[in-house]
Amino acid sequence: MTRRIEQVVIVGADAPAWMAAAAFQRSVSNAGIRVRVIELPTLLQPADAYSALPELAGFHRRVGLEERLLFSLCKAVPIAGQRFSNWSGAAPPFIHGYDRPPPPAAGLGLTQLWIKGRQKGLRTEFENFSLGAVAAKAGRVPVPSEGAELRSTFGYNFDAAAYSALLRHFTMQGGVESKAASVADVEMDGDRITAIILGDGERVEADLFVDASGPQAVLIGRMPETEFLSWRAWLPCDRMLVASAKALAPLPAFSQISAFRQGWIGLFPLQDRTAVVAAYDSRQISDQDLLNDLPALANLPISGDAVVSSLAQGIRRRTWVGNCVAVGESAFSLEPLDAVQLHIAHYCISQLMTLFPVEAGTFPEAALYDRIIRRAAINLRDFQFAHFKLNHRFDMPLWDGCRDAAVPETLQRKLDIFAARGRIALYDDETFQEHAWESLLLGHGLMPQSYDPRVDAIPEQEHIAKIQARLNDIVGLVEAMAPVDDFIAGMDLQRQAEVTALG
């Protein structure tokens, strides 16, 4: 007979494990479900930073974590977008801004107007029609205002260890039990875990085991048919280097991602430093050579130690087996690009919350969870691969290989339809919506051949006026936004005011 879920055990470390714990604690623990964390040793290095999409703010709101704590405790910097340079030959750098464009009037978005404008000689780049991108270039922070037609929002960069500690503290305060341990063994009954045996011999039973252990896949990796399916054919970087450089002043509102001969390098501004991340292909350059090149590639003096680790992009054949669910990078992993790292954990946790099992029986939710996670993962992989596929860096083995790589059918369809008509064909479970894809594809130089015929029904004067109006609106909105440093200082003032009030 089946019965209700009573005990959930999360095994993992760092932000993903504590995000899962916080999410459960805020919802199901009130429904009489006990949540316990088995905390594995951290995988983080001192220089690690997380780059997060704006959606993370929704997670914080849901669990009740105050945003200002990120700025005061985790050295967070608000990020309006990501800037890509040196990927596509002569094409200028571009910014993927975190826009929430208005729903297209009568099905006709500004992108279609822009494409026709471009064909008629419009010089203004697409990114100038993105509120987030323009804010990013101006070093200002887009705060979404209720009811505004044009909306943009910000994500964050912050210190990974400090954020994990904050979440840990927050969750423990909420009453979640935890124990620092390692997993020595797993007791199985068929494809179900009956208990895990910790390093100190303790035997831990649960109705549901959540694997938030990242690439180690401590639990899911021991389940049947869960081998790791590599995506290296599309995402070639297998090494990652993390280091720190001094803080940028004034603080920019974007992360900078530059391609180089053997990979890419990202500069992620934090309040007190700049996190430097390089992802590269070990077949093209050794760790030592990269380390030597690092100051030149970053164009910044590197301070402290650089740490090198391996990268593996891919997905487990199954992400929920029996009573074991993988969340975060134990389910699938990507390049540390496009701010998807924490997003992977966030996405998996939200899906698990929606499909949180009713009973500790046959788990009919598993198949749907796996299907959703797989589709979301493939969509994200395609998004990342598009950066590589559309490159214009010739006579460099890594980049030539990416251009020549066989394109997954899912992405090929998107590219073809966009090339033909400037339309993004979204699949189910997409993280990045039309605007993000448009920024990416146009930014990397994929110019549509035609546009929606309804644009031709708009008289030329009106067409020009609409484009001009959008540019003016954006300029006006950006002028009213606070520069990054002022924004952070404002957060701090708010905190000081509260401390004073409490004192």
Binding site: V28, N30, V358, L368, D452, P453, A457
Partner: protein
């Protein structure tokens, strides 16, 4: 092929004129010519037609004034569909447009809380928590402005109108904007010998109508899409065995209801669509279980007003044209597929085809990538609607006639089987963005048909008993507040959009 300039619509009726009106508005008749060929000989079917809320988008595209439109098509407003005898004889439920309950802060979907409440003895009539359901029950309707604080629910609606006057209304609209109607019957088609593209159609009187792009609105037979291009047809009658309808208008006996009624019958179901001037009725059935004569006889027997004509028999097969777009020909309406009007999707599927064509319309040469994408997207929409309609037949307690025995025991598509399984387990009717029928719709129909979830999301248990009561009471109060202030449906129509006598006589 050069720039697509001349567009030819083959066939009038609702599909043809909806297409022509949209082309006339969007593409205009300056750079394009829009010609519609129809024959008075091939009459269209003029019974009541019910719609769903997305029709607002089509009307908005055309810039139609709602009151004028309602007046000229003898329309009434529709808040949903009442299903009688579907779960079992004597049962009924309401499938409303709109939202089920309201969000409960920090929680999961409303239906989980509602299920918890019902499991502990609450009223199992879910329409009490849907503003449209309450208004429909009381015969009330009005266009309501959104409440400033968002505290009061909206009222979502569509229309019920006379399809023949709707087509006539759109014809006037299209012709005013320069679309050209040609009387005639297509007897021959000229194709380019190399590309196979249609270059012209020939009419019975010998006229040749050339075009760059052809819209096939010729009805079930698919004169161009099937007759010329052999696009193929996926037959769905194993899941949707109904293949006939007997239709008849009758006199109006009371104030028109702001909803459509669907009553399950021994070998199918009967529709009742109230218009301003009369009531449209029909019996959709499968001729393997009841004869045309018997169905017509029973239909006449079961009218609530005096019949205004003899029942007309329509014949069809449920299914979808395998490719709705081939080369320079797009099928719109019945030529692209047929799903019985159980959920009022006929006009919607026409509208979707037209809107998608605009998005993917060829500027110059027809691009196979765009055609393929169109066909894929339409397949997803058709499959989704198909599954939703099949669910009405599969999920039932009825086994009182051979027809219902067949339906209840048939195998259903895997996509639907998986959905039913998960719903039964936990009330989850997850929708995919872009799906036509919302979670509320799926919930209303599956629950109403008798699929009672065994459980619900565990988070719904996190609310204490008193908080749950308070939340439900607040939502109920807001719904009552909204509904109490509404006028009757009849009074609303009388005040702003009663049909003119001339239109009534038409």
């Amino acid at each position: 092929m050069q720039q697509v300039r001349d567009i030819v619509v083959v066939g009038g009726g609702t599909a043809g004129w909806m297409a022509a009106a949209a082309f006339a508005k969007v593409l205009g008749t300056q750079a394009h010519s829009i010609t519609l060929i129809e024959s008075e000989e091939i009459g269209t079917v003029g019974v009541g037609e019910a719609t769903i809320p997305p029709i607002m988008q089509y009307n908005a595209l055309l810039g139609i004034d709602e009151d004028e439109f309602v007046r000229e098509t003898n329309a009434t407003f529709k808040l949903g569909i009442e299903f009688i005898d579907w779960r079992k004889p004597g049962s009924s439920y309401f499938h409303p447009f709109g939202l089920f309950g309201a969000n409960i802060k920090g929680g999961v979907g409303f239906m989980n809380y509602w299920l918890r409440w019902v499991q502990s003895g609450g009223d199992p009539d879910f329409s009490r928590f849907i503003a449209e359901g309450e208004a429909a029950r009381e015969g009330k309707f009005a266009r309501v402005p959104p409440s400033p604080d968002g505290q009061l629910p909206r009222l979502n609606y569509a229309y019920q109108f006379d399809a023949a006057t709707y087509a006539a209304y759109l014809r006037r609209y299209a012709e005013r904007r320069g679309a050209i109607r040609r009387e005639g019957r297509v007897v021959d088609v000229e194709q380019n010998p190399e590309t196979g593209y249609i270059e012209a159609v020939k009419l019975a009187d010998g006229t040749r109508v050339a075009g760059d792009f052809f819209i096939d609105c010729s009805g079930f037979r698919g004169l161009l899409i099937e007759g010329v291009f052999k696009a193929g047809f996926d037959d769905w009658s194993q899941w949707l065995p109904n293949n006939r309808a007997a239709a008849v208008p009758c006199e109006r006996v009371g104030d028109p209801t702001p909803f459509t009624r669907s009553t399950a019958r021994e070998a199918g179901w009967q529709w009742r669509i109230p218009l301003q001037h009369r009531t449209g009725n029909g019996y959709v059935f499968c001729d393997a279980y009841i004869s045309e004569d018997e169905a017509s006889r029973l239909l006449l027997e079961r009218l609530d007003g005096k019949p205004m004509a003899d029942p007309k028999i329509l014949r069809f097969t449920a299914g979808k044209r395998r490719r709705g777009w081939v080369k320079n020909c797009l099928a719109v309406g019945l030529s692209s597929g047929f799903l019985e009007p159980l959920e009022s999707t006929s006009i919607h599927l026409i509208q979707v085809a037209i809107m998608k064509l605009f998005e993917l319309f060829p500027m110059r040469e027809v691009n196979p990538v765009l055609i393929d994408q169109y066909n894929r997207e339409m397949d997803l929409i058709y499959d989704h609607v198909r599954d939703f309609i099949i669910a009405h037949y599969k999920v039932t307690d009825r086994e009182d006639t051979p027809f219902w025995q067949y339906c209840r025991n048939m195998d259903v598509p895997d996509s639907l089987a998986a959905k039913l399984e998960l719903f039964k387990e936990r009330g989850e009717a997850r929708m995919i963005p872009g799906d036509l029928f919302s979670e509320t719709s799926w919930f209303a129909v599956l629950y109403g048909q008798g699929l009672i979830p065994r459980s619900f999301h565990p988070v719904a248990n996190a609310l204490s008993e008193d908080e749950l009561q308070l939340a439900l009471t607040r939502i109920r109060t807001a719904i009552r507040q909204r509904v109490d202030t509404l006028p009757s449906h009849a009074a609303f129509i009388e005040r702003c959009c009663a049909a003119r006598p001339a239109a009534t006589a038409a």
